[in-house]
Subunit: 321 residues, 4 copies
């Protein structure tokens, strides 16, 4: 049953084996702002992200997802979701919090991705020279790089898309917006959201047979030109553009995928796709014969690697389809 | 108290004393699509509007709002809102429906703007040659004009902004997102929404002392270039551009205002502004000394007429501030 | 020796075996304007092309170049060029003219592409309802399709690029701007111009071993968004996008290549690339190890077909490299 | 008589009473690159400017033009122009050169603006970490600010536009492209070029009755989005936007005018306007009744100050029209 208990994607933690190069990528090229450093982590946000941070970049042996965190719609909503998660068997328990937020309930997806849900957040406080007259913007637009505006969504690779989709729906209230279903009725992609965005989370079949891997984090720009601008910067500075700029059929996103130096895939989202306001939305199902348009509406095609590479990088466990 | 019972702006009816010229404006320049004609009305929609129509253009003696209609989030939500409206004293009663939708409950704002709330809608059905492979798009992109994608919001002029704002909040669940408050504490503008959009409805003080007038309807393009493209077309074809393209501080909208030949003000929305996902959003209040940036962040200034002209066009009743 | 005797590309004639479909492509999707029809030909132009026509579309058994025409800088310049062409052995003689221009001197490139050079041109005269207040624009911006602004350049496939490059330089004054040279010193691409544009003509090695074939005609839009807009239209209407939108290294062009229904390749040029004002410009030479960036700076890669398919479509004569 | 002896605008020297703030403006916001510092001057260029510098920023008591420099088409062309200038009575004599260029011949316009013409230039040499794979780009795209690509044109205020226009035509070969002529036949604006650009120099009537003042320097971006991006930065950082972004009728430029902290007006040119390839171009004359569209085709209107303020800032000498 649909509920409104989850409001948004609050933050994502990524591991990187090359913390300095990764940090340079996010700050110098994508214009993310550093809020804090603690231990082996740097806390970052886009200049229109309102909270303390939306990206926690933590040194690790290999690239991959630390965890992602969802903000509930209210303290009561949080309690309802925790009760549901506890019953699910995927709940882990409460933590006291972290820099930038209060207590949070930890859980995993059926595939094993670490997640949190929380209510209490700290808001970003600009320094005097960061204050702007634009009252809906938490700080001035940065001068460095081509600055991303805010965190948008995550994409999780799953051994079993349908199972994880059901979990996100049942326990967190995510609505299915679009999906890809093969002729053998296997669901290989699902795009889900709690808002008019087409997705705050996408689930994508891991064709290598691994579980719990991470596909990408997406930051939002909103203007196509900015993807051309960052593309220029990436090519000149040795950052690998995996695909794009181009336009997806699914979600209508104007996209670009790049590999940050630590090995995590990052998407830059260059327009607003479309928004879903219809309360009676029927999920869109793309069938096998419609895959071409679903994946690439126009522009740069996706290489094979897009469907196989995730983080952490793992050997193939099953014959790739 | 916040609720989620209203989902979106469903459609708007406008009166025009020049039906043919108005129709040419919306179809040839803004690329709206005709779904039906009945009596003195033509039913139109943007090519990414999913319902039967989002604009009903009706011949009338003078320009102005016929009515605007809100879609509830569910049949139960509709019943809850109607019960609340009936208690408010502003309810009018049920109608059987119209082309494109089923039964609807009519009411007025305290200022007198005619409104409806409904659940049952007909979805647009494309003709064979309108069908597209892009499954989130109800029909092909039109070839005529620079086509608007969807209806976005309305702006209502009010003698008393605060009173109407409270009504929209209490009975329909609209959340206040931004407002302008003068030094004498008079609230002269309020932007409200039921979704992450900053507004599906704006309320703006009618400095002429009239009640119940209409300020503008806005259609969404999402790409700044398209406002430059339509500006070109408008200048060459004798359509008056009142202001823009430029950028508002409030809502961060990249805007252009034009007068359609029948006399109604139409806004073209050229980017996505910003979206509000924070469930604990504190309304932004712009004070009198911050008005300049609130109104125009950069670009084309608004002429005086912007604050005085509404439809129907009426004589000034009170000394203009 | 450099001279200034050739001023610009004046018009191009293309053959099409599907005249109606080709015409629909150029008018309904790319917004070209029809000036005249005569015999098996339709005369077209972009809305910012000043002359009678820039594209002559002629029914033919197969796709390909009819001829391309260069405008001299003055009547005297024309005489000088004709004298030089006559000495070259590639001159054919004068014709009285065609719709839209006066006498013209015909010649061929060493590879056999039919060419003309002329001085006398007719200027486009707008109908009353096409007149615009924008005095540098010969007519109003069209409402149909996403209108191209003007003819930009042609690309000719050559069995021997160097030989044709020398001919264009010696007899017509074209300056070499960029070139691609393989490790074996074979020149496989040359971009030449008589103006600050990087090229009005490109010469490209025909790897199939054929002679005198045509690679593409390019129309200029100048705004990247318009390539995304036309891409949308092309995908929905069954027009094959061969590559793009993307960005070339050579010429810095934001490009898209499509196949018009008659089989000719058409490029849409979506920004202004860069311009060359340096009178002492040293041609840029891209070597074999720099080919990737030369061809695609970012975005959509070029398929193999791009390097093999030309018009008329011919069997491969030599082993493809 | 038309000649091709002048090739381009090579560089401009501006005086500023606030050298540090001016430098911050050009480097941090507009992304210009510092090549050298010497004495009271800093030498700068856009990242796609090929020469040693295109802007020399010199400390001075008040804002204004130091000089502007034109590059001849060849050593012989330089000699021809110098001979003509010497006969004109406006020649001043040779200087040995400056950082970045060799000997140059100095002269003034009839209105008194200091000018140079030269042939020998030094090319910018990138440092190792500035080198880019894009061979038509002299260095990597900068990461700071929204970087301007190259110098575009200058606008000189003149007591007598016609007289200065004739001088630029007769002695330097500039062609008149567009002009504004009042009903009393006074020419109040002239746009002239030696290339397909509509202007490398504009001459504009100084309504205050002063002579030899400077109106603005223009840098070229080529993409409309970048004017919106810099507008954002300017508003947030206290830089006064005088007008724009908007579109001129004359030259079809997408423009924005800002005041750098030292008091000089700077234009940012956000698209490519239109280009003139017709060798028989007839100058466009805008008459008094066509002024509105000439000045602003759409968008932000120009304030009165635009027509009165120049550098150095001077008292009004004559009744303003």
């Amino acid at each position: 049953m649909t509920n409104f208990d989850v409001a948004q994607l609050a933050h994502v933690e990524l591991f990187t084996p090359k913390p300095e190069e990764s940090l340079k990528f996010f700050t110098d090229y994508m214009g993310l702002q550093i809020t804090a450093r603690e231990g082996q982590s740097v806390y970052l946000r886009g200049y229109e992200d309102f909270y303390h941070h939306t990206l926690k970049l933590t040194e690790g042996k290999e690239a991959g997802l630390g965890h992602s965190a969802w903000r509930a719609s209210s303290p009561e909503a949080l309690e309802r979701r925790v009760a549901s998660l506890e019953k699910s068997g995927y709940g882990k328990g409460w933590i006291d919090g972290d820099l930038g937020h209060g207590r949070a309930y930890q859980f995993v997806t059926p595939d094993g991705h670490k997640q949190e849900i929380l209510w209490e957040v700290d808001y970003f406080q600009p320094a005097e020279n960061q204050k702007t007259l634009l009252k809906s913007r938490p700080q001035k637009r940065p001068l460095m790089g081509v600055p991303a505006r805010r965190l948008d969504h995550i994409n999780l690779m799953c051994r079993d898309v349908a199972k994880n989709r059901e979990f996100m729906s049942e326990h967190l209230g995510f609505k299915l917006r679009e999906q890809i279903v093969l002729n053998n009725n296997e669901e290989i992609g699902a795009w889900m959201s709690v808002s008019p965005l087409v997705h705050e989370v996408a689930l994508m079949n891991d064709q290598t047979g691994n579980s719990g891997r991470f596909h990408h984090i997406a930051f939002w720009y909103g203007y196509p030109q900015h993807l051309m601008d960052t593309a220029d910067i990436f090519v000149e500075n040795g950052i690998q553009i995996e695909a794009g700029p181009g336009k997806h059929g699914v979600s209508q996103a104007y996209f670009m995928y790049v590999m940050e130096p630590g090995g995590n895939r990052v998407e830059l989202f260059g327009d607003s796709g479309y928004l879903i306001f219809d309360p009676d939305w029927k999920p869109i199902t793309w069938r096998e014969n419609e895959l071409d348009e679903a994946i690439i509406w126009y522009g740069s095609p996706l290489p094979n690697e897009y469907f196989l590479y995730g983080t952490p990088d793992r050997a193939v466990k099953v014959p790739v389809k």
